[in-house]
């Protein structure tokens, strides 16, 4: 108990310091972001593009503040996040057990892997027209598209995790006469967790990238809709404000939530993440 607390402090301390005093890496990264904004401003000032197609940075900030104040931004962001979370949760709910089965059962793999490989190359966007026919415009069809885009990374990663695990841990389970379900709960799932987390992370990433496209076509709310709707009003500042919001939400989830999950599980156990 005491050891665990010490570890958390040790792991947390450098991160806190990094946020207060910027490291060389952070200064370089931030410097590039600032340089891009400055370049953007210069291009705008040079008048290379018509103003109705190319907003200035300060106009985007103003649009951001205005849509935030009116509640429009939060309403649409929440609509997108909701669909994203439901879509990813469904993909995980089907993808994790499916991946466990594909990895552990040769029969299941022989039966289902070919059809998975066949459906996998279809881009999520291609499902949109069909989804609209089936579910109409709105929540369900967007979730459907996220699900069909997002299920593959989690399914294939979980399968790979199970295949990697077979071997010694499985032998230990056999030696100690672990029943099948006990083995799945205590060995197979935690042992595959580095792969499963990487799978969910990738699923989250592709889902968030496809949701905007889906919302442009099949929705009347969400950040994708907000961006597409701004086109009709010739408001590129709102478009870019929406794009930046997408980037921020994605960044927070991918960098923070999943990193936290990895620290709380596989890093605590001294296991290696399968990313990079």
């Amino acid at each position: 108990m005491k050891g665990a607390a010490v570890d958390q402090v040790a792991a947390g301390a450098p991160a806190v310091r990094r946020r207060l005093v910027l490291t060389r890496e952070a200064r370089l990264g931030l410097g590039t972001v600032v340089a891009v904004v400055v370049l953007w401003k210069l291009v705008h000032a040079a008048g290379l593009f018509p103003p109705w197609a190319f907003p200035a940075p300060e106009q985007v900030v103003a649009a951001f503040a205005r849509t935030l104040a009116s509640g429009e931004l939060l309403k649409n962001a929440w609509a997108s996040v909701q669909r994203q979370l439901v879509g990813v949760a469904l993909a995980a709910l089907v993808g994790i057990p499916g991946g466990l089965l594909l990895g552990a059962s040769p029969t299941f793999r022989a039966a289902f892997l070919p059809i998975c490989r066949l459906i996998y190359p279809i881009p999520g966007i291609a499902w949109i027209p069909l989804a609209i026919l089936w579910f109409g415009v709105g929540f369900t069809s967007t979730v459907f598209v996220i699900f069909f885009t997002g299920i593959w990374p989690i399914l294939f990663n979980t399968m790979a995790g199970v295949e990697t695990l077979q071997g010694q841990y499985t032998e230990v389970a056999r030696v100690y006469l672990a029943p099948r379900l006990f083995y799945v709960r205590k060995v197979l799932i935690p042992g595959s967790l580095p792969f499963i987390i990487t799978g969910v992370r990738l699923t989250y990433g592709v889902g968030w990238r496809v949701i905007v496209g889906a919302e442009m076509i099949s929705s009347i709310t969400g950040l994708g809709f907000m961006i597409d709707d701004a086109r009709w009003q010739l408001r590129p500042d709102i478009m870019v404000a929406g794009m930046i919001t997408i980037a921020l939400i994605g960044w927070v989830m991918e960098q923070w939530a999943f990193d936290w999950l990895e620290r709380a599980t596989i890093e605590r156990w001294g296991m290696k993440s399968t990313r990079r």
């Binding site: 108990m1 050891g3 010694q168 056999r174 030696v175 100690y176 672990a178 935690p190 296991m271």
Partner: protein, 261 residues
């Protein structure tokens, strides 16, 4: 009583048959400490895995108290060379694993695990995860996990092979202490001559070509054995002669098979 009757193992690799083991017959008495000594690739780990019930023999039969072995059983536990602890479980949960798998209730499990962790001197580490532990400590946990299910037969596959010399020495003494107080039958695989002679009541020497039992040394010297003494030296010389004959032959065969420069 463990008996092996003409146990052999063959694999087919790319259509060629590989003989991993041939005609091994051994009897191990209850409470006996038997070491399997041989060069790498002589099939001693394969033999251990057959006794564990992890792989079936191609020929012959393994019997425990007369009953043929058809798979892993409650009368056997294995200690693996690289510990094979589950990194996602605390030390205590690792020790409890076999009991939990058998549906033993948590309070009883915990009691057994804590008692064994005290025996191996790791009671203070019960809530740690394995990656906080050194190699020697991990192997103690692995031994405690094996003892927890109270097996009659303890199968050890080069358990100290990955440890440094000093830790290894400490662990050997520790193992002898545990063996004495729990009176388990031990089958201990190693490629280290001194380790086999220091630990075993009997040392079975295996050959690589063909993969069979070549000789048996009975070590009657009282424990703790003086590894610098004359009697130990005589046994060591005997074992070394038996093994080097073997190593020389396999090297000669390899040289014949090689294309001359």
């Amino acid at each position: 009583m463990l008996t092996l009757e003409g146990v052999g193992k063959r694999y087919a690799v790319d259509g060629t048959e590989i003989v991993a083991l041939a005609g091994i017959s051994v009897t191990v008495a209850p409470g006996e400490f038997v070491c399997l000594l041989g060069p790498s690739g002589c099939g001693k780990s394969t033999l251990l895995r057959i006794v564990a019930g992890l792989i079936p023999p191609t020929t012959g039969v393994v019997r425990i108290d007369g009953r043929p072995v058809t798979g892993p059983g409650p009368d056997r536990a294995v200690v693996f060379q690289d510990y094979a602890l589950f990194p996602w479980m605390t030390v205590r949960d690792n020790v409890e694993f076999g009991l939990a798998a058998r549906g033993v209730e948590p309070a009883r499990r915990r009691q057994v695990a804590m008692e064994l962790l005290r025996v191996v001197g790791l009671a203070d580490f019960a809530d740690k995860y394995p990656h906080h532990l050194s190699g020697g400590m991990k192997q103690r946990v692995s031994i405690a996990r094996a003892l927890a299910v109270d097996p009659a037969l303890l199968l050890m596959d080069e358990p100290f092979g990955a440890l440094d010399a000093q830790t290894r020495y400490v662990m050997q003494q520790e193992l002898l202490r545990i063996w004495r107080s729990y009176r388990k039958t031990v089958l201990f695989v190693t490629h280290a001559i001194d380790e086999a002679l220091y630990l075993g009541d009997r040392v079975l020497i295996m050959t690589a070509r063909p993969r069979r039992l070549k000789a048996e040394l009975r070590v009657t010297q009282e424990r703790p054995r003086d590894i610098a003494g004359a009697e130990f030296g005589r046994l060591r010389k005997q074992a070394l002669d038996l093994l080097s004959e073997e190593i020389a032959r396999s090297m000669a065969e390899e040289a014949q098979g090689a294309v001359p420069a």
